[in-house]
């Protein structure tokens, strides 16, 4: 990021803002993508929630997932969200993980015109600070 930027800095995640997401961020910092599973039904869910969407119980656990998925949809961003002005244009996507959840993320190492819905992608961590790695995705077949 340009040091001379007149824009606000890219927003860092604020862990534990609405529930205890420590397991997610600790694992992320070690290069592991963890999502919640309902222990009763075996259903995964993302983003993290304080209850199982499947049955309304709080019997949840964190499990590591493969980091493999496909592009469900994407958008090429020309008008930035605050703090992302220096990144335009950039790709935001909904990636469908093979475990069956969708994750909102950035796509890297691909031009907008080459992105296809259904395209296989794999996890690539982006280091945002000493403590935070953020999940991004890149084409599986580069």
């Amino acid at each position: 990021m340009s040091q001379a930027s007149k824009h606000p800095a890219r927003p860092l995640p604020k862990p534990n803002a609405y529930m205890d997401t420590t397991p997610f961020w600790q694992a992320a910092n070690n290069g592991k993508l963890m999502i919640q599973y309902c222990r009763d039904t075996g259903e995964p869910q993302f983003f993290p929630r304080p209850i199982s969407l499947a049955n309304g119980r709080r019997n949840l656990e964190w499990r590591e997932v493969s980091g493999k998925g496909t592009v469900y949809s994407f958008t090429n961003t020309f008008s930035a969200w605050a703090g992302h002005e220096d990144r335009t244009p950039y790709l935001c996507a909904l990636v469908e993980l093979e475990e069956g959840v969708r994750i909102l993320c950035n796509l890297y190492e691909v031009k907008a015109e080459d992105v296809k819905i259904g395209m296989p992608v794999v996890l690539q961590w982006e280091r945002l600070s000493d403590d935070i790695q953020y999940p991004a995705f890149v084409p599986a077949n580069r």
Binding site: R10, K14, F47, T75, N76, T77, W81, R102, I117
Partner: protein
């Protein structure tokens, strides 16, 4: 609401839509209430209910509703604060009707006022700090970029239909003295197609411009409307609403909206089919929302919305007039009062008071609302109101 026309809308009011007008939500609300009192000739003391929309400009104040009563000199025996985003306008009517039927009040001011463009948009919090902001998805524009891209993948989308919607609404806005001044200039289909991408495939001219403004209607029982000597009245005869459609699914089809539930519910209650609708005032935060709304309510098959638009004259002279005051996209979005803009136009049309853009035989009108942008889903709230003449 049931088909018996026991509830009536007897008045409406609307401020001009302004960009950074600098007047507070309270001032804007006051203007609307005065208009309604003048128009109906009803004494302020008759208003014993307030159904008011949440705002962007005053939302940091949890007492916005009660404070409005204090500001306007109202003492309602029933007060409701509606936090349904752009669905609050018609949602406010449904709740008012229920309260009137339950005997909690008799005459309800359904009000929305927001000075969003003159203030700061409040923080919506929760998962956004961790799982949205770091990615940089551009708010509603980005969410509709994802939605629109997926829609195009599943069904294809003829840009000429979006261009036609943009031009039709703009032509209506040119006839609306309350429309935002900055938008009151002619627009061609070529202008739309040349409009720059903000979050591709969403263009600048697909989107609303956030402004300030207020609007409202007066709702009472039909019986009380007669006692009050109401000069005109129309009736809500069908309503449907759903929040967080497909909320327990982890991979819902994001091209399908809650209108697939709310639309049929409203039509069934009104004893109507989509083809019976004389005019439609759909919530228009983005042009593609209109296409999805038409499909999911049942005006055409899923995926055929663009063709329906191309085949249908939706001007105020046409077979299915659409957002005849310009919609939010061409009249400006008065913040979270945006849901009331197209509602008030529907009432105005049915009262026969739409001047240069008057629809002939305005026997009924469908109004829709959309509220709130969620994570990786279709929009958060969908609701549908059907209005009919006596």
């Amino acid at each position: 609401m049931s088909k018996p026309k026991d509830i009536a809308i007897i008045g409406y009011g609307e401020t001009p839509v302004t960009l950074r007008g600098g007047r507070s939500s309270y001032e804007l609300a006051a203007e609307v209430m005065e208009q309604i009192l003048e128009q109906t000739g009803i004494d302020k003391s008759e208003i014993d209910g307030l159904s008011i929309a949440e705002t962007m400009s005053e939302t940091s104040n949890p007492f916005w509703g009660v404070n409005t009563c204090e500001m306007l000199g109202l003492s309602p025996t029933w007060m409701q604060l509606n936090g349904l985003g752009g669905a609050s306008g018609i949602g406010g009517i449904a709740r008012a009707a229920a309260a009137i039927r339950d005997g909690l009040c008799e005459t309800v001011l359904v009000l929305a006022a927001d000075a969003q463009s003159s203030g700061q948009t409040p923080e919506q919090g929760a998962q956004r700090y961790e799982f949205m902001y770091p990615v940089g998805l551009k708010g509603p524009v980005g969410a509709f970029g994802l939605l629109s891209q997926r829609y195009r993948h599943q069904y294809g989308l003829d840009d000429r239909a979006l261009a036609k919607l943009a031009v039709t609404q703009r032509e209506h806005a040119l006839l609306n003295p309350n429309g935002c001044e900055k938008l009151r200039k002619p627009l061609t289909e070529a202008d739309y197609l040349a409009s720059k991408y903000v979050s591709e495939p969403i263009r600048m001219l697909d989107s609303v411009m956030v402004c300030d403004g207020a609007n409202g209607v007066l709702v009472t029982s039909t019986e009380n409307a007669k006692r009050l000597g109401a000069r005109k009245m129309i009736h809500p005869v069908g309503y449907g609403e759903i929040t967080n459609f497909n909320g327990s699914q982890r991979q819902p089809d994001i091209t399908i909206s809650g209108f697939s539930v709310a639309g049929p519910r409203a039509l069934r209650q009104a004893g109507m089919q989509a083809s019976d609708v004389r005019m439609i005032m759909p919530y228009d935060d983005f042009l593609i929302a209109i296409i999805i709304t038409l499909e999911d309510i049942g005006f055409c098959e899923k995926g055929k919305g663009a063709q329906f638009v191309l085949d249908t004259d939706m001007s105020f002279r046409g077979s299915l007039p659409l957002n005849t005051s310009g919609g939010q996209i061409s009249a400006g979005q008065p913040g979270l009062a945006g849901g009331g803009l197209n509602l008030v136009e529907g009432v105005r049309q049915m009262f026969g008071e739409a001047s240069a853009r008057q629809v002939d035989d305005p026997r009924n009108c469908m109004v829709t609302g959309i509220g709130v942008i969620p994570y990786g889903r279709n929009w958060g709230v969908s609701n549908v109101l059907i209005l009919e003449q006596s």
